[in-house]
Amino acid sequence: MNLLTKKLSKTDLIGVVVLSAIILVLFPTVFSIFRLNLIGKYLTYAFVGVSLVLLWGNGGILSLGQGVFFGLGGYCMAMFLKLEASDPIATKIQTTPGIPDFMDWNQITKLPLFWLPFKSLTFTILAILLVPAFFAFIIGVAMFKRRVGGVYFAIITQAVALILSVLIVGQQGLTGGINGITDLKTMHGWDIRSDSAKYILYYANGVLLIGCVVFTRWVLSTKFGMLLLALREKEDRVRFSGYDVANFKTLAFCMSAVMCAIGGAMFTLQVGFMSPSFVGITPSIEMVIYTAVGGRMSVVGAVFGTLLVNFAKTFFSEQYPDLWLFLMGGTFIGVVMLFPDGLAGLFERFGKPFLARMTSGKASPKKNDEPTVAVAAALESGGKHG
């Protein structure tokens, strides 16, 4: 098992280098800034994809509420930017100048208390990291300490996603409602809508994403990562060996939440708005499919999966809008039934032997992590009521 991890991290290192080259060199040279901005948006979803590799692929914990954390991060950033965009001079035609426009439309005359600290950038950045971590901690402790796992955890996180999106839509005066927080312009006076800012944000996003990829890879190679894998395979045995399983699960859940939140904040910066349509159940489950397409065990694969699904989505929903949902549905079914290891699995099976033959001439089809996935799947059913 230990050998396997070492082997994986070596191949993943090459993967990380290739990924960095594609994100930081290839895309910026090939695409115009408009397309690049779009890719930047997709890459913010990849944060969620990577977080799910940690949580679901390796930990066996399927959260259908990752949109919640993506949204929390995005909303924190959006609140800061919105406050800056609604200074008293820019909003002097409002009944109450100096508050966000949607509050004015909803007859709110004073900035709500929880918006006040978001005037500070330092606080905002801390909030982006800590608020989702705090929520994940609460949910994690409450669920895992009582040994709620598997299917039930998925259903409950899904309900949390529903609650948050309904809450945001329902509290229009405080959150901007269904339209979300729009018209974001500057960050400390720096115009985030200019082309140069878009380039800088794209690179910042790329570097952060690669940072998350490397971090996740590192976490998975530590003893903690080993334990995650072990408790996915047979939770009870880990517990009987004296480990407090709930703490490890909670930690993994918090880490994944923070990654999602960074993605959400970068989304707001690059796209210029945040809305409840990125918080609810549909986006949360859609993000799971990015990971599944990329290969649930592969960190780098998750990024490629995200890009592939989103390219396909953009192409098909522009050209054949009717076909897209059929294709999306088919992808869900096909990936689960035929390619449970996703792109990474296909690469392991066909790409690697091919590369090996090309480079050295001696083909050596290596045993990869596939068996563990199959074993995990088989074991998962055994512990479904456990």
């Binding site: 679901w56 399927l62 259908l64 409450a142 669920m143 009582r146 040994r147 709620v148 598997g150 299917v151 039930y152 998925a154 259903i155 409950i156 899904q158 309900a159 949390v160 529903l162 609650i163 309904v166 809450l167 839509v169 329902g170 509290q171 159940i281 489950i285 799971v288 499919i289 599944a292 009717d322 897209w324 949902l325 059929f326 999306m328 549905g329 088919g330 992808t331 869900f332 079914i333 990936v335 689960v336 039934m337 449970p340 799947a377 088989a378 998962e380 059913s381 479904k384 009521h385």
Partner: protein, 304 residues
Amino acid sequence: MSLNEIGSMVAMQGFSGLSLFTVLLLMALGLAIIFGQMGVINMAHGEFMAIGAYVVYLFSQLTQNYAPGLREVYFVPAVVAAFFVAAAVGYVVEVLLIRRLYKRPLDTLLATWGLSLAMQQFFRSFINPKEVSAELPEWLLGAFNPTPSIQVPRNGIFVMGLTILVTIGVYTLMLKSRWGVRIRATTQNRVMSSAVGINTDRVDRFTFALGCGIAGLAGAAFTTIGSTGPTSGSLYIVDTFLVVVFGGAANLIGTIASAFSIAQAQSLLEFFLTSAMAKVLTLLTIIIILMIRPQGLFTTKVRT
């Protein structure tokens, strides 16, 4: 507001809670069989409900165009057809998809979510992208007034009756019939059941079809209350899962009790708050209760 008026208000709000209750309960009964008994997370359950609703709509269109004289009676065969069409689709889905995924519950969730997306698009492309509603027979329209200030809609009474019938049916089938014994035996111990001669594959297929058929009935009931759109079913799916989990996954009495309390809580809160806040509060309460009592309200003691 006099005391009498408040009383009538509570009674009518309570009745609107009852119609939510019936839809939730019919959905949840199907899901309690599929999820509670078989352990399959069927995210497309809402779409099976939509199938039922569309079957009733189709019958209503056909009667309107070809046999207007049958308007008063078409509804009953339409409800029966809704059950069988949804069950047939469920049977096919089980054979093609679910059967291969019993050992991977979380993957079933993803696959059936994909199925639900495809089914929604199917409704949109081939039936109608907008909401449709069936032409209801005369005897389902209007209201029944027990006192001058209380109005009870007739469709509500019909749906209530249907729900009670289905509930008794499911209860008898699951707990009193030989088939129910086979279903419960299979879910408790598959290997042992097949060793004593139960054809577990066949039991799985029919159980899944039965659950989907009941969802179809929920859809048929739903047409008397509201109009049906491609995404109507998906609006109820999370609530339905919570009803089943909250009630204690494999427990029919629990399912009824939890559907009742969730529906009543939501519609009573709607009277005081906006409907969004009522929903938030209800769901939040359920989640908090589930955190304290993860096994749900009622549990069936099973030795495994």
